[in-house]
């Protein structure tokens, strides 16, 4: 048990998005956004991050909202808790891989407290939630003192634990476009024990028509400094007749695209091999679901 006490900081509860952005600007990088705090507070205690001020965004109206518009997509806010998403019937019906990625997180308290956006903002390559959302081509809404911008999740990560957020910016919400009627998806990960974070995660979302792949998005976690999309494998699939040989060729592309490390969870070699195997299985499952899709 860590016996280290938290260091002192100032604490704010802004009422609006612009107040929060102004605070971030004022502190010039020494303030931290606090959402659920489930990652932030332990990290402040261990000293791995430092903050002169915390900006708790949980009182800003509207940030907990979920809105689904048929034919358009699904939106949720920066304060939408993982637990709410886990038990959202629309998410489960329309974006099963996203719900599966959230559901398999074992710590129920961390889902009651933690937000999906907080998970994304950690920018850890070992997120389960980020690959699933990335495979669905999710887009972030980012607010700063100069206004709002949108960015695809696949462009949000710059490096290990590094995002595109400027000092005065934070994420206010996520938009997941409506999947095509003939889409299918899959989510797979490998863990040492269920309570641990993933050694490798693969998510895929595909569409097919008459046995031909019309679109494919594959995202892999814990196999590079950030969660990544595998563009080469996606390109190889598009326009081709689906089948095991094609899936294996795409899986081999995925294996070539990753750059995993060895650590106490796994060796780089195992992670590369599992990237291939899980990509192969994810494609099998996603195309199977696409073929019997009734969305």
């Amino acid at each position: 048990m860590s016996t280290i006490q938290l260091k002192k900081f100032e604490y704010y509860e802004p009422d609006t998005v612009s107040e929060a952005a102004e605070l971030l600007k004022e502190y010039g990088g020494s303030a931290q956004i606090q959402a659920g705090g489930i990652d932030l507070i332990p990290r402040l205690r261990s000293g791995s991050i430092k903050a002169d001020a915390l900006v708790n965004i949980s009182n800003i109206p509207g940030l907990e909202e979920i809105r689904y518009t048929e034919g358009e997509g699904y939106r949720f806010g920066a304060m939408t808790r993982l637990r709410t998403l886990d038990f959202c019937p629309v998410l489960k019906a329309k974006y099963p891989a996203v719900q599966a990625a959230i559901h398999q997180i074992t710590s129920v308290q961390s889902k009651y407290m933690g937000t999906a956006v907080g998970n994304l903002c950690l920018a850890t390559p070992a997120s389960d939630v980020a690959p699933a959302l990335m495979a669905y081509d999710a887009e972030l809404t980012i607010a700063g003192t100069g206004g709002e911008r949108k960015q695809k999740l696949c462009d949000f990560y710059l490096d290990y634990r590094k995002t595109s957020l400027a000092q005065d910016e934070f994420v206010t919400g996520v938009f997941i476009p409506e999947p095509a009627a003939n889409a299918g998806d899959a989510f797979f990960n490998r863990v040492r024990t269920h309570a641990d974070i993933a050694k490798i995660t693969v998510a895929a979302v595909v569409t097919e028509k008459d046995g031909v792949c019309t679109d494919a998005k594959i995202a892999v976690g814990a196999a590079a400094p950030t969660v990544i999309r595998i563009a080469k494998a996606e390109d190889l699939l598009k326009g081709q007749k689906i089948g095991d040989d094609l899936f294996m060729a795409a899986a081999e592309e995925a294996e070539r695209a990753v750059a995993p490390i060895s650590d106490f969870r796994s060796t780089a070699e195992y992670r590369r091999e599992m990237t291939r195997m899980l990509t192969y299985r994810a494609l099998q499952e996603a195309f199977e679901r696409a073929e019997r899709s009734e969305r």
């Binding site: 002192k8 900081f9 604490y11 704010y12 009651y112």
Partner: protein, 166 residues
């Protein structure tokens, strides 16, 4: 906008139905610290202090939260329930009784967190399946019982509480 300076502050908290006040060194003090060290409510345990073990679980407006990772200032005005708030008039809560009757308590360190998680579960879902119980306590570590008796205790509590309501 609400702001708390780095300086000490007097905080009012509603714990187990009672208004309580505590003098904090600043807004950086966690709820677990306030409960254990300022209010003397040591039923809430702290083991890992990084959110991994679940032993510091309390209910905030009925929602399970890890009090080691919650700032006390952030839960002002909310209804906080700790293990001390479960027994009424000297009589144990049916979940506490079921834990005793099932032999689900050994060293007792995980019990407050387990029992509060069970309470949150049974309020949401009075008749959970075994899998639902297992999933619900997935964030709570026990190093004595092997979990089986804890699962049985929650099943027993569900049965007894269901009877009481019918």
């Amino acid at each position: 906008m609400t702001k708390f300076e780095k300086s000490s502050l007097l905080l009012m908290l509603k714990v187990n139905g009672e208004e309580m006040q505590a003098l904090l060194e600043g807004p950086h003090v966690t709820l677990a610290d306030v409960l254990r060290n300022k209010l003397g409510l040591t039923g809430t345990k702290e083991a890992c202090r990084c959110g991994e073990c679940g032993s510091c679980t309390v209910l905030v407006d009925g929602t399970p939260m890890l009090s080691c990772s919650v700032l006390a200032v952030a839960v002002r005005g909310k209804e906080i329930t700790t293990i001390e708030g479960l027994a009424k008039g000297g009589e144990l809560h049916p979940i506490q009784q079921a834990f005793i009757d099932s032999g689900a308590i050994q060293c007792g360190f995980c019990s407050p967190g387990m029992i509060l998680m069970a309470k949150a579960l049974l309020e949401e879902n009075p008749d959970p399946t075994e899998l639902e119980i297992k999933e619900h306590i997935g964030g709570n570590l026990c190093r004595c019982t092997g979990y089986i008796k804890i699962i049985e205790a929650i099943q027993l509590a569900a049965k007894r509480m269901g009877k009481g309501a019918a």
